[in-house]
């Protein structure tokens, strides 16, 4: 008997009926056509299928879709801002952190959840975090370098986003002072 599933994927709400045995990865790829999430080992061993559910990285091949009912899912398709790649995606490209790219969407989703939690990780923390993400091309060093680079990019982006706000605040203050007749 099919059951109702309500989920938010990359900011869009969906509602449909599925067989209870359906896995999250099947909903993403087959029902929603979001094929950026890859299914490789299909046995919870390679992490290529990693997506983010309510802020946490999980393996979509090993979760019943109905257990994600009412939750928010982010896939690789939800990262880029229109045509501008997310800093983690760009860092992976610039650091040659993939060749065939099959594991990359899972890697990047894990990195997204990780850097949200730990914006300035040590190399050892990155190694511990990425353990379980199997890549047969790069030898992992470039992936670690890409993550370090992505962390820097995200921090400078955050700093850049704060800057205009500070300026705004200052000018606002100045206006107030000017109005009260004490300033400048």
């Amino acid at each position: 008997m099919k059951r109702e599933l309500n989920i938010v994927v990359n900011g869009e709400s969906y509602n449909f009926f599925i067989e209870p045995k359906t896995l999250l990865v099947q909903v993403l790829r087959e029902t929603l056509g979001l094929t950026g999430t890859h299914q490789a080992c299909d046995s919870s061993s390679c992490a290529a299928c990693t997506v983010i559910v309510d802020g946490k990285a999980v393996k979509s091949c090993s979760i019943l879709a109905l257990q994600v009912n009412g939750k928010e899912v982010t896939t690789i398709e939800g990262l880029a801002d229109d045509t501008v790649l997310h800093p983690i995606q760009q860092a992976f490209i610039d650091n040659w952190a993939f060749q065939c790219g099959f594991c990359t969407s899972g890697q990047i989703m894990a990195v997204k959840a990780f850097l949200d939690e730990n914006p300035n990780p040590k190399r050892e923390e990155i190694q511990m975090q990425m353990d379980g993400h199997i890549c047969r091309c790069t030898g992992y060093n470039m992936i670690i370098e890409a993550i370090q680079d992505a962390a820097k990019r995200l921090q400078s982006r955050e700093a850049a986003m704060k800057l205009p706000e500070q300026k705004k605040l200052q000018s606002h203050k100045w206006t107030q002072t000017a109005k009260s007749g004490k300033g400048a």
């Binding site: 209870p20 045995k21 990285a57 393996k59 090993s62 511990m128 993400h133």
Partner: protein, 295 residues
């Protein structure tokens, strides 16, 4: 490759009462309880298990807790994930051995969704949380409709993928007593890759006397070296009442080899695993002793 799980009737529960009611209704049926399903989903995909009914308890948020009390100790609800145990501040402060164990369980993604109790109920002979729980003298509460019983961690698993949990029952909580004074605990597992199941894993708790000279109590838990996790009571006796030295740990390591029953496999022969368990015991015992001395 795409694997497909066979059909089952899906029975979600949102409260403990609902879950116990469903269990009592279906206790004579082919059913499985699913929490995170991090082992179960794979087993169902490979058709090792094909239940007619799947009772989903992932939604039992009232059992998703980790609580500490200075007198009663630690309580881990059945729906607490591996990751929440690993990241719990109070657990790191009071039972750091549990966090150290968790850091090496599968991968972060699996720990984010899989539960500690579910892992124990899956009862892989190399299950990671079992040795430290045995060393820490943990107990599990098993509930059925209108009833509740408690079982010691070392008696929970009885054979390969088999536990003491009977049809109609489910585990609701793990209880761990307060660490005795002058105690130290440590855990190590040996596996081919970080996060893999252990070839052998050992946890040791050492409690020293008031002067911190003599071993007042010792508890040793192992996994991966028999059809179910083991408590090495004879090796514990070797340590009790004596000043722990490297020679005494070596003696205990010889005894522990007689208390386990590893099976040969592609990753190591029976003899190799026996030696490994002994070596790990010496290493782990040394760290547990240092921790007890510093405590």
């Amino acid at each position: 490759m795409k694997t497909i799980i066979t059909d089952f009737e899906y029975l979600p529960a949102s409260t403990v009462e609902e879950a116990l009611e469903l269990l009592s209704q279906h206790k004579d049926d082919e059913y499985k309880i699913i929490a995170g399903g991090q082992s179960l989903n794979t087993a169902m995909k490979h058709r090792l298990i094909a239940p007619d009914y799947l009772i989903d308890i992932k939604g039992l948020s009232d059992l998703d807790y980790i609580k500490f009390d200075e007198k009663k100790g630690l309580k881990i609800g059945a729906l607490a994930t591996h990751r929440s145990l690993e990241k719990s501040q109070i657990v790191r402060e009071k039972y750091s051995v549990l966090c150290e164990m968790e850091e090496n369980v599968a991968s972060v993604e699996t720990r984010n969704w899989g539960t500690v109790v579910g892992d124990l109920c899956n009862a892989d002979p190399a299950v990671d949380p079992a040795p430290p729980l045995i060393a820490l003298d943990a107990k599990l509460t098993i509930a059925s409709k209108g009833e509740e019983r408690t079982v010691a961690a070392e008696e929970f698993a009885v054979d390969f993928f088999e536990t003491t949990v009977q049809p109609g029952e489910m585990v609701t909580e793990i209880q761990i007593p307060v660490m005795p004074p002058n105690s130290g605990a440590y855990f190590t597992k040996y596996s081919q890759m970080l996060g893999d199941y252990a070839l052998a894993s050992v946890a040791v708790l050492i409690t020293l006397d008031k002067k911190k000279e003599v071993c007042a109590n010792a508890r040793i838990g192992l996994a991966g070296v028999a059809s179910a996790p083991v408590r090495a009571k004879k090796a514990e006796e070797v340590l009790k009442g004596k000043k722990i030295t490297e020679a005494l740990l070596a003696e205990a390591a010889e005894v522990v080899k007689t208390e386990i029953d590893p099976i040969s496999g592609i990753e190591g022969s029976e003899d190799y695993k026996r030696e490994l368990a002994g070596t790990l015991l010496k290493r782990v015992g040394k760290v547990a002793l240092e921790r007890a001395q510093k405590s």
